[in-house]
Symmetry: C2
Subunit: 408 residues, 2 copies
């Protein structure tokens, strides 16, 4: 005697298939907890099915096509028609978040996207439902499993970046074309989504500067080990000063004792900081087919049981142009007198203060490994530009950010 809820599925790939199986497996349980039984009203694949027919027959549309076109058109039309959308599409949300939220408002429909960020870790839910109750100061973490796997393997075994990437591809942790993952674009899209939720600000992908891990050398990791640091690709979204926010993705050394330091392999982890709660940390496996399908089904259950997700409006926060960070600097130089003095002079000219330095000589060649105190990124970039031109440099300088704080 229970009502049905009609679920249309767009996309028939790995996640689409996993979701369909899970929906069948868990239909009884969903009915038990929500009072309504989910029923697949149609599946759209590249070759088969009509979106319009599926839309007409569905209460909820689950978008698992990926990419912007035609997903944007389908999702917008669904929401405007007053039907709910659950999606795992981070590019769509990061690039067109505002339009989607507007369409959801227009249609009075729900838009849920737990699966778009951090796999099975319910970070969207936690950030979204904390809104109103606590002011979030900072959301940051490891939101790309591919790069964390590669960095873990480089650290564990001394593999080169290229070798670790090939291994990740063999094991299915990296795609054949890994550009979006290793270049930081995937993490940037996720951080844009998290920042929008945490701060209620319309952060777009173009507001998020990002760097990837392609330039990381085994040398950097070896020296970091000596200094007790571990290397992660971090996404950071934070309030930096009155009315400004900063959202960035960059490889970064973490001091031991940092809650993100022990996160290894393809795992993700996100920390939320607020004066009211100090910090909470959530970690778990990154996005595989089953994890993504579970997150999508969780959203479907939330839609059925009601309760609209929260969107804070109108807080037009500005994006900061500069923030303070500590840096590690690796220089390969000729081993001649005055080199360190000259480098230190250039750094000093730009107000960059050195925290520690290791110098190693090998015949006529030498390496300088320095860690700076926190400094304006712009000031450090200006110093780095001048250092790159110093005639005794044997290869381009390499720099990586360092998280200074030590934790409980």
């Amino acid at each position: 005697m229970s009502e049905f809820v009609n679920v249309g599925i767009l996309g028939k790939g790995t996640v689409g298939g996993a979701f369909r199986r899970l929906l069948n497996e868990r239909a009884d349980m969903v009915e038990e907890v929500s009072g309504r039984r989910p029923k697949v009203s149609g599946v759209l694949s590249r070759k088969k099915g009509s979106f319009d027919r599926i839309l007409a027959r569905s209460d909820i549309v689950v978008e698992l096509i990926g990419g912007v076109d035609p997903a944007l058109d389908y999702v917008t039309r669904t929401l405007r028609a007053g039907k709910h959308v659950v999606t795992a599409n981070k590019q769509l949300l990061a690039q067109h978040g505002e339009e989607l939220v507007a369409a959801a408002r227009e249609g009075g429909a729900q838009l849920r996207f737990e699966a778009a960020v951090a796999g099975a870790i319910p970070v969207i839910r936690v950030v979204q439902e904390s809104l109103g109750a606590i002011p979030i100061e900072k959301v940051f973490g490891i939101v790309n499993g591919t790069t964390n796997y590669i960095l873990t393997e480089m650290t564990r075994t001394g593999l080169s970046y290229e070798e670790a990437l090939a291994q990740a591809q063999d094991l299915g942790y990296a795609e054949a074309d890994p550009t979006d993952d290793v270049g930081g674009a995937d993490a940037a899209a996720k951080m844009a989504i998290l920042a929008r939720l945490a701060f209620g600000a319309p952060v777009r992908l173009r507001d998020v500067p990002y760097e990837g891990i392609e330039q990381i050398k085994p040398d950097d990791i070896a020296y970091a080990k000596e200094l007790g640091l571990s290397l992660k690709l971090l996404g950071v979204a934070e309030r930096v000063d009155d009315g400004r926010i900063s959202v960035r993705v960059f490889p970064c050394f973490l001091y031991p004792g940092h809650p993100l330091a022990p996160i290894e392999g393809p795992f993700n982890a996100v920390m939320v900081e607020s004066p009211a709660i100090t910090e909470i940390t959530m970690s778990g496996p990154g996005a595989g087919g089953p994890e993504t399908a579970a997150a999508v089904l969780g959203d479907v259950v939330s839609v059925i049981t009601g309760g609209s997700p929260l969107f804070e409006e109108n807080a037009r926060l500005k994006v900061a142009k500069d923030v303070e960070m500590a840096f590690y600097l690796h220089l390969e130089v000729d081993d001649e007198p005055g080199v360190l003095a000259r480098v230190a002079e250039v750094l000093g000219d730009h107000g960059v203060s050195v925290r520690s330095v290791v110098q190693r000589g090998l015949g006529g060649e030498a390496q300088l490994i320095m860690v700076m105190h926190p400094v304006s990124e712009k000031a450090f970039a200006a110093a780095l530009k001048r250092i790159a031109k110093l005639k005794f440099l044997r290869s381009p300088p390499r720099s990586i950010r360092v998280i200074e704080e030590e934790f409980g």
Copy 2:
């Protein structure tokens, strides 16, 4: 032009005060995200105010009195009247969960209690809203900050239990009467609540056997350090075999690499395991006034924005009478020939197999420190009972459980 939502507050203690301040501070933000502005409709203290008047005037009643009487009466009457309840009262929920859920159903009202377990970590929300989407196999973790602080200090500084407790009391991490915390009853109440949500089974406090940390000696911790283990008070709720669950609280050694091993000081951490998601770990500060108030306000916002929390019904799971665990065993014995052989013989009689053993002699006295392979708790208890009677024992045997699995 916005509607008000009337919030009645029962209780004027630390948490009551913190909640009232936070509600005032965040009223604008709650209105912005939910469309309704919260307004305090009345505050009941021990000396002042009438519950009936507050009930009549409120849409939501926030219960922060603690204890069962009169909280049970107030909460039940509120729910039956069709008004929503937010509470932080773990004893009430653990002892009278079924009545409360029945009253909520009868009145068609919401009952929310994020603040009852693990402070600011949104574990209730995550477990509850995962229901239907993923079958939870196991929920476990460190759910009492007082005991984790004491164990951390004993490990870090070699303090005795009594010294570490006194220090925790000085710093406000332990109450003047710490019995409920150090004896494990507080953790048991929280695990009963988590188990009910995770498995949909009406677990009551009396179904949860618990042990505390009062018997832990610096010796145990010192030997554990040698073996690379760390000591935590764990709450565990798990499906152990077909149709049975086990919910327990006990001090326990964790192998290094276990995600809970690095959780130190007054922090809490909870892990959720499911085949669909492998495992997720959530950690953060335990329940202080501000953390509890933030969790309560989060629930108030959820009530306002609608969306009823999920309760799975009727799954009358049975409680298991026995489970398998590994054990550490510490014996102070006379240093005479045949002691180890005799102990090993008794263990063998009960099917208990030894994984590692360290023997130390000091004059005529010796210590045996043994770690067992996983074995039925009943079998180990029977062996321990016989060992306690061996005539060469110089003091009662001490045993602590050990988590075997290695992670990550």
